[in-house]
């Protein structure tokens, strides 16, 4: 008779074989666990579906969900999620700091912690008014949590000071989609990756930041010799492993590259005039201009001029433009390298321009697809409007009609929601430091680790009264928290995530929360009611009730989730909106007649950009502008930061998993061999980086990943908070900080 271990091995083989479409050993994995509970990976914006194996009330196994987009595959981080639940540093009791910031966090009862938190908030609300309180949320919070917090703050406390970490990662992508198409969120999906014949990847290290998507792209590349992959990135990352062309441009010159590509496409008549002549308008700032004006504007971006700015060969610029335009279907992918920039919105616009000029849009495999960094920045924050300028479902604070629609839906008097935008992230932390915002509720994020220019912005955390919901004791922000509420983690509660491709998927509760941890929905409800928010305003028994209210919010509008019922989410492995009815299968191609349910079946044109009043997408004339800081004689190197494959953000989760921690135990600095030689630096040497903000010593990794003049460091390590080195200049439109580029000195440390 087979042992249990043999059963488990057989099950593991059966799961892997089933992913390959080979039936084996009967029902897959049924010997590993008493039950398998459906969920979504807790980490990146890829949003892979998982099945969590539970035995005797304990999570014991995980496998990829074969019915979700990832088709049963996970990366190593996702595969190692189960041990994170049982990490020793889980925060499992409420804590408070009884005597100010310098006193220790002490464990107390829920009652004492709640009273302590709400007494202070009540005092601030009474003495200083609603603008003195804030909510700082997360693209990792569940949709129901973000919707609820947004409602409590904007409709309940009458404070628009609701922002969160998506401001730091996706705000420029939102600005790009909104300005070009009139509505946020991509028009394509991951299905496009299986149909594209050209991938243009810019400002994204997909192989490390979105590994399962990268595997899908690599698979597509292998499937046909026709497929071309272009990677544009100053670093030669793992992603360029599958590239036919790698464009290593000077950091911060991508706007010139993108305009240069547009120049070549128009010059060589590879633009699709029938497409852009019919579906686009051209705009310079707020002014409408003509295609001829656009052509004149592009004269500044000849390949030769762009070569001078970017450091690329003029021939390569021509070649990449031709490849982009001439493929049968081009998909662009980008992420933080484009978004985290003082011209992030412009860079987004310029990528959209290339698609609109060539007509590579609205067909399978032809789409501009912005990759999301976090698992629920799209669904949980962008869609529910949990940012300082937004209201739910694409509405904005600045529009009275929008405010009134939300007030009516929430059943509160018109005029309840203030007409002035709240504070975006950087302004919020500045206001906290200045004592203008006196109390903040931080949920599911770690700003003391992840904000830029940390020495400046941790002053805000030191000054304001900080309430934090958190699952892990190692979170740096807890050093500043006056109250720490232990949060149920991942499959200890239930809720919905919405990933990059407009797919909403449910994580069901699989196990009980550890210790005294509670679902954040319960924490927020308790908190709000104690502060006098009427029970009728937040009449929910659980997250499902909140979801039901949310999905019906926009029954008739363009952000349409009406058909995504909880019952469907339990059955199906994610549904892509727009989804206007319970029988609608979800939408792959937005704005396309016959594909997007919001385009009338009898619409005269096959494409209908309904986000814009004139139904036309906008090609913007956006000139090249350098980054906020460039290398100079005083600070001669460019520093860029980013992710590594086995660590996630501030490593509060991945840092608890020995195998991940072992793979990347500490931050380091990548430096090109030429630069290393000049500076006498060898692999493993200690290197000092010094910027205008701070200096720091890190171990060197000498590698040609970075071009000469560029150094890179990851940011996950709390013992080397590299964000202290960064400036906090923001994009004028999106208010997203320019994490990706600052000037630095580099020297061998003694």
């Amino acid at each position: 008779m087979a042992t249990r271990r043999e059963f488990i091995k057989g099950s593991a083989a059966a799961v892997a074989l089933s992913v390959m479409g080979v039936p084996a050993f009967g029902a897959q994995g049924d010997t590993q666990a008493d039950t398998w509970v459906k969920g979504v990976c807790r980490y990146c914006g890829t949003g892979c579906g998982v099945l969590i194996g539970v035995r005797d009330g304990r999570a014991v196994a995980i496998k990829g969900d074969p019915n979700n987009h990832n088709q049963g595959v996970l990366c190593q981080k996702g595969m190692l999620l189960v041990p994170v639940i049982y990490a020793k540093d889980r925060l499992v009791r409420p804590h408070i700091r009884k005597n100010g910031k310098s006193s220790p966090l002490e464990p107390v009862s829920w009652e004492e912690a709640m009273k302590f938190a709400t007494d202070k908030f009540a005092q601030v609300l009474k003495e200083d008014g609603p603008n003195a309180v804030a909510y700082y949320g997360s693209g990792q919070a569940l949709t129901e949590e973000s919707y609820l917090a947004n409602k409590i703050w904007k409709g309940g406390f009458k404070s628009n000071n609701v922002d969160g970490n998506p401001r730091l990662c996706m705000a420029s992508a939102v600005g790009g989609y909104m300005s070009t198409f009139g509505k946020d969120e991509p028009m394509g999906t991951y299905d496009d990756l299986d149909n594209a014949t050209c991938f243009f990847i810019i400002g994204s290290n997909t192989s490390e930041a979105h590994p399962v998507l990268f595997q899908r792209i690599a698979k597509r590349k292998q499937s046909s010799s026709e497929v071309r992959v272009i990677v544009a990135d100053p670093r030669r990352t793992n992603t360029s492993r599958i590239a036919d062309m790698h464009l290593s441009f000077k950091p911060g010159t991508d706007l010139a590259l993108l305009n240069g590509m547009a120049h070549v496409i128009v010059r060589d008549e590879m633009d699709n005039y029938r497409f852009h002549g019919k579906y686009c308008t051209f705009q310079k700032g707020d002014d409408a201009v003509t295609f001829d004006d656009y052509k004149a504007f592009l004269q500044d971006y000849t390949p030769e001029k762009v070569a001078e700015i970017t450091g690329l060969a003029a021939d390569d610029i021509v070649k990449v433009a031709h490849t982009f335009a001439q493929s049968s279907a081009t998909t662009s992918l980008w992420c933080m390298g484009i978004n985290q920039r003082t011209r992030g919105v412009w860079a987004n616009n310029l990528i959209h321009n290339l698609h609109l000029l060539t007509g590579h849009i609205g067909r399978p495999g032809a789409t501009p697809l912005s990759l999301t960094g976090q698992p629920n920045a799209c669904g949980g924050v962008r869609d529910v409007g949990a940012l300082a300028h937004l209201l739910p479902a694409g509405r904005v604070i600045g529009n009275q009609q929008h405010r009134n629609e939300v007030e009516d839906y929430w059943g509160i008097p018109r005029g309840s929601i203030p007409d002035k935008m709240g504070l975006h992230t950087i302004a919020l932390f500045e206001a906290m430091a200045e004592g203008k915002v006196k109390a903040v509720f931080i949920h599911c994020t770690n700003p003391a680790h992840t904000l830029p220019h940390l020495n400046k912005h941790t002053k805000g955390l030191q000054t304001a009264f900080v309430v934090q919901t958190e699952a892990f004791m190692s979170a740096e922000t807890l050093k500043y928290a006056d109250v720490a509420f232990p949060a149920a983690f991942w499959c200890e509660t239930d809720g919905v995530y919405g990933c990059t491709e407009r797919r909403y998927a449910l994580t069901e509760q699989a196990i009980k929360p550890q210790g005294e941890a509670r679902p954040c929905v319960n924490i927020l409800m308790d908190f709000a009611k104690r502060l006098g928010i009427d029970e009728k305003f937040i009449p929910y028994k659980n997250a499902e009730d909140i979801w039901e209210e949310w999905r019906k919010f926009n029954e008739k509008g363009p952000y349409n989730f009406f058909g995504i019922t909880r019952a469907r989410l339990r059955k199906e492995s994610g549904i892509k909106w727009p989804c206007p009815s319970e029988t609608h299968p979800g939408t792959n191609l937005r704005y396309v007649r016959g594909k997007d349910p919001l385009v009338p079946a009898n619409h005269p044109d096959p494409i209908f950009f309904y986000g814009k009043p004139n139904a036309k997408a906008t090609v913007f004339l956006r000139p090249y502008a350098p980054p906020f800081e460039t290398a100079d004689a005083e600070y001669p190197f460019v520093l860029t930061t980013g992710r590594v494959i086995d660590q996630w953000h501030s490593a509060t989760m991945t840092g608890t998993v020995p195998e991940l921690q072992r793979a990347y135990p500490t931050n380091f600095v990548e430096i090109n061999p030429e630069d290393a030689k000049k500076l006498g630096i060898r692999n493993g040497d200690k290197v000092e980086l010094e910027t205008r903000r701070d200096k720091m010593v890190l171990p060197a990794v000498v590698t040609d990943v970075c071009m000469p003049g560029l150094v890179f460091t990851p940011f996950f390590d709390k013992n080397l908070l590299v964000n202290k080195l960064l400036h906090d200049a923001v994009d004028a439109v999106s208010k997203e900080p320019e994490y990706k580029i600052c000037a630095t000195r580099v020297r061998k440390a003694s």
């Binding site: 271990r5 488990i8 091995k9 099950s11 593991a12 083989a13 799961v15 892997a16 074989l17 992913v19 390959m20 479409g21 080979v22 084996a24 994995g29 590993q32 194996g53 035995r55 304990r58 014991v60 196994a61 995980i62 496998k63 990829g64 049963g72 595959v73 996970l74 990366c75 190593q76 996702g78 595969m79 190692l80 189960v82 041990p83 994170v84 639940i85 049982y86 990490a87 020793k88 540093d89 399962v212 595997q215 690599a218 698979k219 292998q222 499937s223 190692s474 086995d646 840092g655 608890t656 998993v657 020995p658 195998e659 991940l660 921690q661 072992r662 793979a663 135990p665 500490t666 013992n719």
Partner: protein
């Protein structure tokens, strides 16, 4: 010991030689070469050593990538695997 199921993607006509190399690794059991030259395999390995094992596999000639499909840790105590090295890292 964790039990980990995964797919080994191979290319360049080297699926057979990659399979032989995988078969020679004591932690692994393989389950054949499938569509698109993908090898199905299961590893029995202390989860702390998984990363090292995957690195070795990725270096085998002809191996393009490894996709994980399942992991069972029921007889491992993940909390106990968390060494002070991690909590107290410098």
């Amino acid at each position: 010991m964790a039990v980990v199921g995964f797919l080994v993607h191979t290319g360049g006509g080297r699926a057979q030689s990659a399979l032989a190399a995988l078969d020679a690794m004591p932690e692994l059991t393989t389950y054949g070469i499938h569509k698109d030259n993908v090898i199905v395999a299961v590893a029995e390995v202390a989860s702390v050593k998984l990363d090292a094992l995957l690195s070795v596999i990725k270096k085998i000639e002809g191996v393009i990538d490894v996709s994980l499909t399942s992991m069972n840790v029921e007889d491992e105590d993940p909390g106990a695997a968390l060494s002070s090295e991690i909590l107290d890292r410098p």
